[in-house]
Symmetry: C2
Subunit: 230 residues, 2 copies
């Protein structure tokens, strides 16, 4: 299968790869003129193309076929999780991208120990792109702005998202019915506080849990995404 | 909740933690005499205990309550996957343990590029123990001997395991019905060869795939485990 490259402007007949994408094509894969590649813009267009010219730091391609599919507005899955420490955040974002999650929201909670700093979060865009190249996904997973639990719950109410909060106790195994948009809320090590769980309940969130196991943040995010992806 | 420690002999009334478990209790968590801990042996027994004595490199506990649950022999889930490169193997084993997978089998296939060496695999036992301490799982995830696809298929036939092979094309989304024991077979980067897929089909394996995405080995292992765990 042709190698895939991210290109944010596929409206041109001869799109140009630059930056890290050009570097990947020229210096890592050592592609040559005439070779077939596949381009995606992350918002629904995938193009088949042939390399027409390779310059010092840019690759000019000629598009031979394109397809566009509008991103569905139903069945969307958002994972709102406290950013886990160290490499675990990057790992989580890579896996959520591969699994087809629509949006990741860095969640701020009372007990959250990691500060989801802008610099750390902005690097995740590259992780999403790399994962998309690898898995062939058509639509980019969005990285949302960091949000507090309250702000997220309000937003979900306004946009009619079903909220599932990962919390042991009075919980159900995650099931997968209907065609609504869903947001899964995953707390920090140590879990949500009682008042946070009460707040979520007040906003009609449903409790879900993994049977017989206390999952790490990134494991819960990936497991619930895999379980709830339609 | 009390900190958990692995102890392979819980038949004694005063079990002893040694090695890395003692180190963890004494030097990392700095536990003191009189504190409550929880012990597990990985084969079904969990004990509540109190620390009675702390010596240089060993912790003597006094058991106050035990519970034993026999490992179920139905609904077992085995993941047989080619070991992914580098840290990804350790990560995968950690996650499969957390999710409650019963056995991981390192799979050898025609295109497998990683040699599942004994030394690399033996280190995974420590990863399983650490993950069990974290997630509170009762039964140890077993790390099986490396197997070829043919040998695995024969074994599954003899033990009446349902085999699901992750392979795009004529595939179904994984579903979760019945109460049989299942083995999910996941190939290397580049996938299974046509003759391997034919072989699996000859042994009645069912093809499964993840919609719209080419998953990495460890992502497929975790996603199918999450999807198929009962």
């Amino acid at each position: 299968m042709a190698d895939r490259f991210f290109c944010d402007d596929l409206t041109s007949e001869k799109p140009c790869l630059s930056g890290t994408e050009a570097h990947h094509a020229i210096h890592v894969l050592r592609l040559k003129c005439g070779q077939s590649i596949r381009l995606f813009d992350g918002v629904g267009t995938v193009a088949e193309a042939v390399i027409e010219d390779i310059q010092r730091d840019c690759v000019i391609a000629k598009v031979t076929a394109t397809s566009f599919i509008q991103k569905p507005t139903q069945n969307c899955l958002t994972i709102a999780a406290v950013p886990p420490k160290g490499d675990r955040l990057k790992w989580m974002v890579e896996k959520l991208t591969e699994l087809g999650v629509d949006t990741y929201v860095p969640l701020q909670t009372e007990r959250a120990v990691v500060d989801p700093r802008k610099s750390r979060l902005s690097k995740l865009a590259a992780t999403v792109t790399a994962a998309m190249k690898q898995c062939g996904r058509r639509w980019r997973m969005e990285i949302g702005e960091p949000q507090t639990l309250l702000s997220l719950l309000k937003q979900c109410r306004d946009s009619e998202n079903t909220v599932l909060i990962a919390h042991p106790g009075d919980a159900h195994e995650p099931t997968n019915v209907g065609s609504d948009n869903r947001t899964v809320v995953i707390g920090p090590e140590g879990g949500f506080t009682d008042s946070e769980v009460q707040l979520a309940t007040d906003y009609n969130a449903r409790q879900i849990a993994w049977p017989d196991s206390i999952l790490r943040i990134e494991t819960a995010a990936i497991a619930f995404a895999a379980r709830l992806r339609r």
